[in-house]
Symmetry: C2
Subunit: 457 residues, 2 copies
């Protein structure tokens, strides 16, 4: 079969791998833009990936993997001998190490940690102990800290001596810690400029600095950076010991990741992640786990139709309208779900304010229900020349639109109030309810006016 | 009617407004956490909002509005006399001013700009000229820049003299510009520490610094910050003149906003934004604009059922399965849509790689189609005791699942390749196709085996 579309940009990596051209591979890995690297990696077959592994140094691989998405990086080293994997992981930036290891099966992660140098492994284990979306899981551990008994001159000497090393730290502050490691102050590099070298840092530093607990969650961190226009904040443990620095940019990036995961979950990707480079079995199983729940819920809803089969037999035209009413109610309800999820994310609504949301949605539901109902009713009337058919579908869709937006607006709040993730369950719960009520409305209203419906059909 | 759930946290603002207690209002505005402020504002009625406006100073309001979501802030000042609005907007941070003004109707925005001090208005107009998600729209304009003929000592003197003012700038670098304002270098504050005051900044600065064009889009900026672990990057215009600094944290925040908008659009919220504080008319019109397109597409799809009405009359049990097959195909297709949108966002797939995605999805579609088809087929068989009914619904769902994932995976890529936004159109296009093919499959397969279907019904 022919390639339907040419590769837009020429990917040199597969050719270099096929030719076992070590130099060309190394050149690509070191020179490719991150977006090129990500795309090239995702396009490789399993065979090409293992050949790649044999053809390059671990350092080149580690730097290349730093550009990849964590899930891709984990996928790449999964199944490698622990020593190889440890060598690659060890070459990655410290913040990425724990992220990648956490995506591996537990036994494999343990084997890699055992194969890493003791210090690195200890460090990685400490970061692994934190849940992903907490200050501890997001923080960087490369920061400047100085004892509170040092002088400004001591700090300047250290900065001068290690300028090259510190350059990559990208932090604007140095932290001052007590003998026991407790955070006691923050030094602005700027203030060092203006102070006498003989002064103690404790005299120059900002006392009682802003800080967060290492266990602080993503929402708390977002609120922090919304409130304070800072680039980073020190994170401390229960004893007040400085353990890392959380950067605003990493918090925003984690929030973006969470939005993307939430979208995927809403669309039925359990776990919030699927990449097409994952094995077929994993992809089908994850998708099926959600689909089978849905098909059972669908059957439950459709049993309403089965129950009213006689009405449907008498007025077969109704069968045309059932999927329309099911789908349109789902659409209206999903709009309300989306607005509630957005308002929850922004904090403008709280999980227990069901009543406020209900009133707001009911107003929209009444207007939209009437408009859509009239539209569908006209089609029903004109199609069969039976005004009562129009009345049946119009009233069913109007009422069900109201039902759909009321449930759609409140389900995410209720799930959140119950401590559940609204992204995964809102959709199936909503459509099951609106399908059942929609089918019930069409068929029971039709049943009530059956003599008029069968007049000229 | 009684409040179904008590307010979780006590909001003092409505009470203070009701009592016209200026002091309590001012206290709340200055002391509330941003999340409290956002929530309190969203909970106010129109009347409460206008009373709030009369009871506080513009400075208090401006600082409070800085905490609000741009859409809320815009909503608040919309309809105010231009002078009042200009006074409030003028007190907001410069980066927020343009964001808020851009959300107002054009005539009102123009009136506010005219009522602002000339310098501020000129500045806001320059930022307004940039599209929202570009370097120009995201950049801050508070940065340190020095002429290239100055000395290190001059810079240190300026830093000392304005230390208090610069403290809030939160930038780690100072920029060096030529006589014409062109960016020629970057000064690390750290390097100033290590240099003799008599040296020229041009001798100390980093030459040919990294920079972006003011017109650079969000994706280019994301790639930039993925590649370089920097806190910010200078933005220059076509002449190379330094016009602002784009901070990584703002780029990540814009990416998160875009994800949220994309989710809302996918769920049928045209424009990607709706807050329940917006007027009912605006909310219903936006939602209806999408719903009416959908109901027309739905009618088109359902016309397939109308066309095969005789088959349906003969085997009324099929009417139970039509909505199930429509809904399940939509679910399967949406999973593929979600993965494609995710892979597009990550850059692991490119819009023209339809063929690669098609192969990957077809494999999933075959497996999932068989599993779901067998499941539904068994139900069909057992329910009516007619094996052929089972065969019809099983084969229709199996084939349509394959159709759904193939279209679902490729529609977002095709829309992107055509320069369209996949978020808004993917859903309606997908479900229209899968509904039509699903109905057609059920009814035409049933028609082909009609004698066996009507044996014992």
């Amino acid at each position: 079969m022919a390639e339907t579309s040419p590769r837009k940009t020429y990917d040199p990596l597969p050719d270099a791998i096929a030719a076992s051209d070590r130099q060309a591979i190394a050149d690509f890995l070191s020179e490719a833009e991150p977006s090129e690297a990500v795309h090239a990696f995702a396009s490789l077959s399993e065979t090409e990936r293992s050949k790649l592994l044999e053809s390059v140094s671990f350092e080149d691989l580690a730097s290349f993997m730093g550009d990849l998405h964590d899930a891709h990086a984990a996928q790449f080293i999964e199944g490698l001998p622990a020593e190889q994997a440890a060598a690659i992981v060890g070459g990655m930036p410290s913040a990425s190490q724990a992220d990648v290891i956490s995506r591996l099966p537990e036994s494999e992660a343990e084997a890699i940690l055992k194969a890493m140098p003791a210090g690195d492994a200890h460090h990685a284990r400490r970061l692994l102990a934190y849940p992903h979306d907490t200050a501890g899981g997001l923080m960087i551990t490369e920061f400047l800290s100085y004892g509170d008994t040092l002088t400004v001159g001591d700090v300047l000497d250290d900065l001068r001596a290690n300028a090259e090393h510190y350059r990559k730290f990208e932090v604007q502050y140095a932290y001052v810690v007590s003998n026991g490691g407790q955070l006691v102050g923050v030094l602005q590099l700027r203030d060092l400029l203006l102070s006498s070298p003989a002064e103690r840092v404790s005299a120059v530093m900002i006392h009682e600095p802003l800080k967060v607990r290492d266990t602080a969650g993503l929402e708390e961190l977002e609120r922090f950076f919304d409130h304070y226009a800072l680039l980073g904040v020190p994170a401390v443990d229960a004893q007040g010991v400085l353990v890392g620095v959380v950067r605003g940019v990493d918090v925003e990036e984690a929030a973006e990741e969470r939005s993307q995961r939430s979208f995927l979950k809403f669309m039925g990707i359990v776990g919030g992640e699927e990449l097409r480079t994952m094995p077929l079995k994993a992809r089908t199983l994850r998708r099926l786990s959600w689909l089978t729940v849905n098909i059972l819920l669908n059957m439950m809803a459709a049993s309403v139709i089965a129950y009213h089969q006689d009405t449907l037999s008498a007025v077969i035209a109704l069968a045309v309208f059932l999927p329309i009413i099911s789908d349109m109610s789902g659409c209206s309800g999903n709009q309300a779900v989306a607005v509630s999820m957005r308002e929850l994310a922004l904090g403008v609504v709280r999980p227990r304010e069901l009543w406020r949301v209900l009133r707001k949605e009911a107003a929209v539901g009444i207007v939209n229900g009437i408009v859509l109902g009239v539209l569908l009713g006209l089609v029903g009337w004109l199609w069969k020349g039976n005004v009562m058919l129009g009345v049946v579908v119009a009233s069913a869709l109007a009422i069900n639109t109201l039902v759909a937006v009321c449930f759609g607006g409140t389900i995410p709040l209720a799930l959140r109030a119950l401590g559940q993730d609204p992204a995964l369950a809102s959709g199936p719960i909503l459509t099951t309810i609106t399908d059942m009520t929609g089918f019930l409305l069409v068929l029971s209203i039709a049943n009530a006016v059956l003599p008029w419906l069968t007049l000229n059909s």
